[in-house]
Amino acid sequence: MSVGAVWGLLLAVTLGAVPAAVVAAQPAAVQSGRSAAAPSAWPAWPAWPAWSQPSAPAVPPLPTIAVDAFPEASRAAITAAVRAAEARPSDADAAGALAMLLQAWQQFDTAALVYQRAQALAPDNVDWWYLGGVTDTARALPAAAAQQFARAVPLARDATSLVTLRLADARLAEGDDASAEAAQALYGKLSAQPDLAAAAWHGLGRLAMRRGDTAAAGEALQKAVTLSPDFGAAHYALAQLHRRAGDLAAASVSLARQQRCPSCGPWPDDPWQARVAALRDDAFALLTRGIAAAAERSTLATTEAIRLHEAALGRPETGGLAHLNLIALYGRAGDLARARQHYRAALDDASQVAEAHRQYAVVLLEHQQQMDEALRLFERATALAPRDVAAWQGRGTALETRGRFAEAADAYRMALEVAPDAHQARFGLARLAMRDGRVDEAIAMLEPLRAPWQPETPRYLFALSTAYLRRGRRGEALRTATEALTLARRLGDERMATFIDAELRKLEARP
């Protein structure tokens, strides 16, 4: 991931919506890879599929790698690995180590060639087959990946199920009927494995959709989201299934659930990929892993994210960005003193002053601390970056908390001018209109928030119902509140549902 991508993720971190990237597990002990007669809980792998009959391939030469063309950041490590592989031409581990390093630096095409050499030199080593498959998956070459995963399965010992999942995914991605049949069988076996069942049911659901078996697809995908309620891809597949069946309401609910966390899923730990990731300790890698950890939001993950970001400090390429992210991370951890410390450090980089102001202001706002200071920082952020929607929305909220409602409305309007889809700003304007008794204006503001459904929609609908009630349109108020309740339940937002339910009962009890 380039630092540009890291910056993109930062925007989400800044807004509190931590990026939902898959979290790479920390380096863990990986079995040696040379498995032979070791016992396995996984049933014996059947005979080789015809298309991947094991053979003794000729050892391909090392590809020419123009090490001098690499930038300083990666040149020394890659040069050393190339030299080692050249010096020990029959050493599979040397070739494999080079391939892993190239994979770590995302030189996938070259890595794939070097893995082929390692596979030929040591055909019984699961590592090279598995990582070669992973590399070809990253290259969007599922057929090549599948062949390598198939070779890895019988060698994988305790990790057989993980490798089998990768194989099933690759065969599904191949797209032809024969591969789909193979994937069906593989997912079928995995569906009995508790840790991989959700992923397996998702695969089975997609296969059923592919062959037009709506009932089977619905059943499988429902199992997937029951086992893994935040499984974004499974919710998306369900949405498409409902859409095909013409049930657009159900499709919209599934889409809204997907939007809560599009990349969340029951992703298994992958010790091989963790080992590859651990080959890099440069600033970008640390930061990337830190952001991935931040996405998890647990206390443990936040601690790890802080550790990785701290490690990236002092590196000229990413130090400023690390400071920015640490403002949010320490804010999340409740350590406002440290957050402030990194805010001050972030100000040293002239290019990120506006973001630093906004980032720290968000932390203060979330903790309801030093609200005047938060407001002042939002004002500085919007002055420096007048198209920063989040800063305008934050400024509006801060002004609301200080009772400066007219100015808050102006800030929300500015946010909407920059980004007409800024829902928080629209909701804020509706809130202010309600407060001033401009009920029709509030209704006009809230009506467009009815669709498309998203995680916050029940809240918007409930606000709309209260507006209708204030306007004396009790029937519409009841209908809208009921709609909000139903949607909150369908979205799995139990807290909101309980609240709306209680309010709805009060409303119904009133004459």
Binding site: S2, A66, D68, S74, D176, R243, P262, F284
Partner: protein, 608 residues
């Protein structure tokens, strides 16, 4: 019957032959049943690069000076239009690279215009062969706008019978009205369409069905000085930033008031309610409700499908439709769009070009604007996995009646294999031959086991795209370039689609169709009274030959930053007899005609 259009008189007839090439005072068209060329058997490349021999000299400047401004790697496009109404397609190429820094101290007169216009001086030699020749007429045309040009849209917005030009850039866009005398005048200010945002593709379309052409403009990113932090590729070299480094900006919809001015109706139309990093746009009636919808390809953000609700209102059904994401519900780095009825089931499918590692996607339409991601099933995923695709378009390269696909590619971040080279972003372009199977009978590509092992669409029709490489593709597909724009059209009116490809920081390339085939064809040039003179948005369905039942639309939009031939060109394969043609005009009225193949026919919409 004649009526005046500008300074010309145009004959109006219910059905008549299109204006053929005027050569030495004689009309010279392709006769009925006459195969224009390529009678001889044996493999021959489908395309030949005739850029040099045709005198087409244009090199795009991207303004790259080591600062890695993202604008440098995005443009630019190319358009086809018959600006002088002489019956053949001319070429407009968008120029980039003009920045404040690069033009400091350079007088306005010395600065290069944002587009160059090349007149098609096609002629037929004594042996009857078509001789291609393009002449740079930019100076006379009068394109005066300067800036970092991006895209081009063409359309007769004022209904005077002459095609006008809209140029997008990373600053204010420009609308040039075709005066009909070979000159264009900048009417941007008066028309009110100078969107100051960084715009990419644009499309002229009569979106409100009031008879004139409106304008949809995609906008890409908000790149401010504050957001120009350096980015690096995975191995640590300085490189262009990905789009998520910047903020998205909303697209724009301009309604044509019919008096030479436009009204920005983006807000009232509802299209500000969702937006991403817009790059490509295509217009079609994806839910077959008779109203034109808008599909926008966004880079690294969800695509939008603006369903036309009527009354000037739109709703984004992209996520619900299935065309906003990949099969896992994740947005992709989408750039170009080819909209067309690939599987000949009567609705328009979408091919969207994506960034390397994703593969191009075919979204198969179920006729209700529900799309299924079939990239793997049809053979597109693996062959495009390593490509970063931009311009793309359907064409029938061998006139066999089955849709083929042309895609032009070029990376936006360093290609590791080209590390250390002067331009480490180059890739090759790709040609795909379509194979369509109805009830087990194949048309189009080879009947290999690989080709037949495909999954089918909902109608039982099976189709597949197979990349054409080697001798059949020809040397025209060998060079590496940072290709961006692609415009498809029949530049020599021989019934075979040709192509023009623009390259970032490289030369424009002209590919002449040289497919050796005696397949039949029919060309349709639709005209109608009123401002939408060229009937943009009309559809055509033929009733015979291998393309029977396939929906064709009159459009110039789609691809990437580019504008293609509006005429409908139908490959007829071995079919030799008359063809029944069903036309649905933009106002919803229908017309049925029978025509002889092997020529272009200009069809005038009957007056009611």
């Amino acid at each position: 019957m004649t009526r005046s259009r500008g300074n010309r008189s145009v004959r109006v007839a219910r059905v008549r032959l299109a204006l053929p090439l005027l050569v030495a005072g004689a009309w010279l068209g392709v006769g009925l049943g006459e195969a224009p060329r390529g009678q001889e058997a044996g493999p021959a490349p489908w395309f030949e690069d005739v850029t040099a021999t045709a005198g087409l000299a244009f090199v795009h400047r991207n303004g790259a000076r080591g600062a890695f401004r993202i604008q440098e790697i995005i443009g630019a496009g190319v358009g086809l239009l018959d600006y002088d109404n002489d019956g053949d397609l001319d070429i407009i190429a968008v120029q980039g690279g003009e920045t404040v820094a690069s033009t400091e101290g350079v007088s306005a007169a010395a600065r290069e215009p944002m587009a160059r216009l090349f007149r098609n001086d096609l002629r037929i030699d004594a042996a009857g062969a078509r001789v291609w020749r393009f002449v740079d007429v930019t100076a006379h045309a009068g394109f005066g706008a300067h800036g970092d040009g991006m895209g081009v849209a063409v359309g007769d917005y004022d209904g005077d019978g002459f095609v006008d030009v809209y140029l997008t850039s990373d600053g204010p866009n420009a609308l040039y009205r075709n005066r009909g005398d070979g000159r264009f005048e900048d009417v941007t200010a008066r028309a009110g369409v100078a969107d100051p945002r960084w715009s990419a593709s644009a499309a002229f379309v009569d979106i409100d069905a009031d008879g004139d052409l409106d304008l949809f403009v995609t906008n890409y990113l908000d790149v401010t000085a504050a957001s120009t932090r350096p980015c690096f590729e995975p191995a640590g070299a300085r490189d262009y930033c990905p789009p998520n480094r910047y903020r998205s900006v909303p697209d724009r919809l301009f309604r044509n008031r019919g008096d030479g001015t436009f009204e920005d109706v983006s807000e009232t139309a509802g299209i500000l309610r969702a937006f991403g990093n817009g790059l490509g746009v295509s217009i079609g009636d994806y839910d077959l409700d008779g109203r034109l919808d808008i599909f926008v390809a966004n880079d690294a953000t969800p695509n939008q499908l603006w369903r036309n609700l009527g009354g000037g209102r739109f709703e984004d059904i992209g996520p619900l439709s299935g065309a906003a994401f990949n099969a896992l519900g994740r947005p992709e780095g989408s750039m170009g769009i080819a909209s067309g009825d690939a599987d000949a089931d009567g609705d328009e499918d979408l091919v969207v070009t994506n960034i390397a590692g994703e593969g191009f996607v075919l979204y198969a339409n179920d006729g209700r604007a529900g799309f299924d991601d079939r990239r793997a099933d049809i053979g597109l995923a693996q062959t495009t996995a390593s490509m970063t695709g931009f311009g793309v378009g359907w064409l029938d390269g061998d006139s066999d009646g089955v849709a083929d696909l042309l895609a032009v590619n070029g990376a936006v971040t360093l290609v590791p294999e080209l590390r250390g080279q002067a331009v480490p972003y180059r890739q090759r372009n790709q040609l795909f031959r379509g194979e369509l199977r109805r009830g087990g009978a194949a048309t189009g590509g080879p009947t290999s086991a690989a080709a037949s092992a495909t999954s089918g669409g909902a109608t039982g029709t099976r189709w597949r795209l197979e990349e054409v490489r080697g001798a059949t593709a020809g040397p025209a597909f060998a060079p590496l370039a940072v290709s961006r724009g692609l415009a498809i059209g029949d530049l020599d009116n021989d019934g075979r689609p040709d192509a023009v490809i623009s390259a970032n920081g490289g030369p424009l390339r002209l590919l002449r169709n040289t497919a050796a085939t005696d397949h039949g064809w029919l060309g349709l040039d639709l005209r109608q009274p009123g401002p939408n003179h060229y009937a943009v948005g009309a559809t055509v369905v033929v009733d015979a030959g291998p393309a029977a039942g396939r929906l064709f639309r009159v459009r110039t939009d789609g691809s990437y930053l580019s504008a293609s031939d509006a005429r409908v060109l139908v490959g007829l394969g071995e079919h030799r007899g008359d063809i029944g043609v069903a036309i649905r005009w933009p106002d919803g009225s229908s017309q049925q005609l029978t025509m002889a193949p092997g020529r272009y026919v200009q069809v005038e919409k009957p007056r009611r």
